[in-house]
Amino acid sequence: MICETIRPLLPLLQDGELAPPEAAQVARHLQECPACAQEAARLARGTALLRQAAMLDPPPGLRQRIQAAIRADRSRIPAGRLAWPAAMAAGVVAGAMLMQLLGTAPRTDATAELAAAHLRWLAQAAPIQVASADQHTVKPWFSGRIGFAPPVRDAADAGFPLIGGRLDEIAERPAAVVLYARRQHRIALFVWPARDAPPPAIATARGLNLIGWIQDGFALALVSDLNVGELQTLAQRLRGAGRPASAQ
């Protein structure tokens, strides 16, 4: 079980992206577990090999050519012609274009992807992009950043307060992640257009429970280390299929 939860964090450890307590925990595990240590070594070998193979150098004269171009250009074009916001917007458009031009890879199983994405998020130091208990704050936050309006509902009355939201990718398409809390547990509700990938019905992966369904053209999946019974309560609350037990 522990290996399952450690594995998705090995790349983050190698990349120096784990928060110190998680990094120490993973490092301790690697000392005790030869299989995970072997996997960590495999990752490191892959990086070393890629660096050795792909670290091409620019042609020798490029720096001088560009320096000359910058200095010659300086006398011709007025300063500040390309505003940075415009360049940023161009980057966003270019990103969309790149995806369009070059296509995406085939689909894979959403269950493994959801679980790994949630574990990586839990291990990261600064995880919530919009921290708010107010659905009228979280919902509009998504609308400016993703091509669809995910359903965002508070469930504090059922004991699952909304804590915020973030963005991720499922099946290489953008996904909204609405975040809830229950005692010390964190619960992620992944939302993405159902045509991109089907959600898992009910599953366990890497020590996490997953409950998924389709609603209004969206695939939704709850992912958490919370027990499946309580997760089911939240699922029912969000689907509107049942009232929380405490609501009489």
Binding site: A54, P85, Q124, D168, E172
Partner: protein
Amino acid sequence: MLSRRPTARFEAEMLPHLPAAWRLARWLTGSATDADDAVQEAMLKACHAFDQWRGISARAWLLAIVRTAAIDVLRRRPANLVPFDQAETEMARLAAQQPDALATLAARRELARVRTALAGLPAHQREVLVLRELEGLSYREIAEALAVPEGTVMSRLSRARDALAAQLREPPVSRRGEGEA
């Protein structure tokens, strides 16, 4: 008063990132000459916009502009033109410079195989690998360069590493026509 563009400051801040800029363009376009064009274009744009730069990392900011320029070059390139992949010519030059590093034929073949695998990945996986594995950008810098959230960076990087490893597990000779749909 019209502000003089601080060219000297720009050069001091940005020229050290030229190799990173060129490698990103090289791996996105698959061609050394296209990379030259994209990087020159990007450096001029960046120089014009330099006084508006407010980001966390000069490198991430520059690489975002390089990426846009590389995509522009790709779009301008005639659709029927497949660039001659110059990696092997480049590596021959490198091998001449460092005979010890690439001593054996087997090692050179293995590295060529890695380059082919990288070149065969979808562009959004290739760029995230180049930025992380070659240039050592943090997730936050990559997020800034690609204008995507960090969660997306982590997911893409994870997929990209898996995809590259899968490519490399394949035998060197492709088994075409063996039930591959």
